[in-house]
């Protein structure tokens, strides 16, 4: 009898997936970027009842042999499903600054994903998780393989959940949004396999990679660590190509701290990351800004012994990955800002545009250009007011770009 009730409870979860999908479907009217989430929740809603029938069929067999052996897996499915529903239920379906959504969608477009496959949830960390990784961590692979299989090798499995602290969601944190370009970089790096293809022996799951660093052989430890650190460097490079000097700047001013200077298994030393990001920005023409970033970094670290060299990632891999990213992702160059400014107002120089931005005059440019114009600021921490102005400029730029698309479509 208890088992029958358990069967019913698991089946009831189907209606919760259906309700969730309904909510997302409604939200898409106001938030078109949620279209991909709508697709995912629709797939989940349709696949879940079929997967449940198949799994309950297996449990039914065990029930006739041992009720106690059948009860626990059933309870585990229930528990894992509830946690998964909890994660999906926590996704923000509104109350997000439109500018932030536009900025992330713009980043995805630049990496070749015009239908941005992402949703946002609030957490105390900035992180990116794919659906398949979330399911694996819940144990679906073991307790509910029929459902897990739906996500493998499918569009829905690669859907991205961006975890962000509430503070980063504010318009008054707009300068920090360049860090989201790094998270979008993770989506690119995972899907393109630009790093993992160089480590064919290594698992793709981050949980497994972290575990290998903890318990693997010396050779595996090094490979897993190299892979994870190269991933971070690759995502930094994507972020610089998307947002020019803005990312290197924010990496230094808001994410750099002396406590973080030593590397962890996943992340390279932060000072090395800042230096590399500054160098990459310099290659894109942001020489003045890069020099300023490096000089500030040196001030910050002058009393600390940093940049040990024994944890360096293999340069041959780093160079090959860098070349692949350069080929695949268009760069946001310093020289482009000048033409964007002229496009906005003929004869408007970059310096004047930066002044206009700071004084709060309407300025419609691409999001990355707006972030770069405010970088580096004279003070390390930009004021909230300036950041709100930046958010306005990002919004204005998007409105203009949409308007131009409409005009183009009408003309053709």
């Amino acid at each position: 009898m208890a088992l029958e009730r358990g069967f019913e409870r698991v089946r009831e979860r189907s209606s919760r997936f259906a309700e969730l999908h309904e909510r997302v479907e409604k939200a898409v009217f106001s938030w078109p970027f949620l279209a991909e989430l709508e697709y995912c929740t629709r797939q989940i809603k349709d696949a879940f009842p079929k997967a449940v029938d198949a799994r309950l069929g297996q449990i039914e067999k065990v029930k006739d042999i041992s009720v106690s052996a059948a009860v626990r897996p059933l309870r585990n499915i229930e528990r894992a499903t509830d946690r998964f529903l909890g994660v999906l239920g926590s996704l923000r379906l509104g109350n997000i600054p439109g500018e932030l959504v536009e900025f992330v969608a713009w980043c995805f477009e630049r990496i070749g994903r015009p239908d941005p496959p992402f949703a946002i949830a609030i957490d105390d960390k900035v992180a990116m998780l794919t659906m398949i990784e979330i399911l694996a961590q819940q144990g679906f692979k073991e307790v509910f393989p029929e459902f897990y299989d739906v996500f493998e090798e499918q569009r829905v499995g690669h859907f991205v959940v961006l975890l962000l602290p509430e503070q980063l969601l504010q318009r008054s944190s707009s300068l920090n949004w360049s860090v989201l370009a790094h998270e979008v970089g993770h989506a690119y790096v995972e899907e393109s396999r630009v790093v993992s293809e160089r480590f064919p022996r290594m698992p793709t799951s981050w949980t497994e990679l972290r575990a290998l660093v903890q318990t693997g052989t010396e050779e595996d430890k090094k490979e897993a660590r190299d892979l994870m650190q190269l991933n971070e460097y690759a995502c930094d490079e994507v972020a610089v190509r998307l947002t020019g000097c803005a990312f290197a700047w924010r990496l230094l001013t808001d994410f750099f701290s002396l406590e973080q200077v030593p590397s962890t298994s996943m992340h390279p030393q932060i000072d090395k990351r800042v230096r590399r990001a500054a160098r990459l920005a310099s290659e894109l023409g942001f020489t003045k800004q890069s020099d300023q970033i490096v000089s500030l970094l040196e001030q910050e670290t002058r009393d600390v012994a940093v940049t040990v060299t024994d944890d360096d990632v293999p340069q041959v891999h780093l160079e090959a990955i860098s070349a692949a990213i350069k080929k695949a992702i268009p760069a946001s160059k310093h020289s482009d800002i000048a033409s964007l400014c002229r496009d906005h107002v003929p004869a408007l120089s970059t310096e004047d545009a930066a002044k206009e931005l700071r004084s709060g005059r309407p300025l419609a440019l691409d999001p990355w250009a707006v972030l770069c114009l405010a970088t580096p600021d004279e003070t390390i921490h930009a004021s909230e007011k300036l950041q709100e102005i930046i958010a306005d400029a990002i919004r204005l730029g998007q409105v203009r770009s949409r308007f131009r698309k409409i005009v183009k479509t009408d003309a053709s």
Partner: protein
């Protein structure tokens, strides 16, 4: 809501509690000869073989154990979260389970009595792991609250 932390906790729970219970499921299927060779039985028994193999090494060598792939590394990292002294207490019993599973996978005739004994051990281990995890996380919560 701390989604990231809750997923990490779920990942640990998966290894030390959920996998042993899933092995029990496979062993229960194996008691019925008509299901012994089914894909579902094999899947769970293979999971069990991997788990018991790693458990055997980790309980013997502790942090000196070196995993050979991502899957065994994850299991080892999860098991290492449990107190080493307790792991050693479970060593002989889990070794027995390992023998039963290996026998079944090799196609050996195995008495149902042995399968039931293995099930008892695994359920006991899962209960111990859950209890340990909940006391560890309660202590951590208290620490955080302070």
């Amino acid at each position: 809501m701390k989604i990231y932390q809750s997923l990490a906790d779920a990942s640990l729970y998966r290894i030390v509690a959920l996998i042993p219970e899933q092995i029990v499921f496979g062993l229960a299927l194996a008691t019925d000869r008509t299901h012994r060779a089914s894909d579902e039985t094999r899947r769970n028994l293979e999971l069990g073989r991997e788990f018991c193999e790693v458990f055997h090494h980790v309980s013997q060598r502790g942090e000196g154990y070196r995993a050979t792939n991502g899957s065994t590394a994850t299991i080892a990292a999860g098991i290492q979260e449990l107190p080493a002294a307790n792991l050693w207490e479970w060593h002989d019993r889990m070794f027995l389970v390992k023998g039963v599973i290996e026998g079944l996978l090799a196609g050996a005739e195995t008495e149902n009595q042995k399968l039931e004994a293995a099930n008892e051990i695994l359920l006991g281990f899962a209960a111990f792991a859950k209890q340990t995890l909940s006391s560890v996380s309660a202590a951590e919560d208290l620490q955080r609250a302070r």
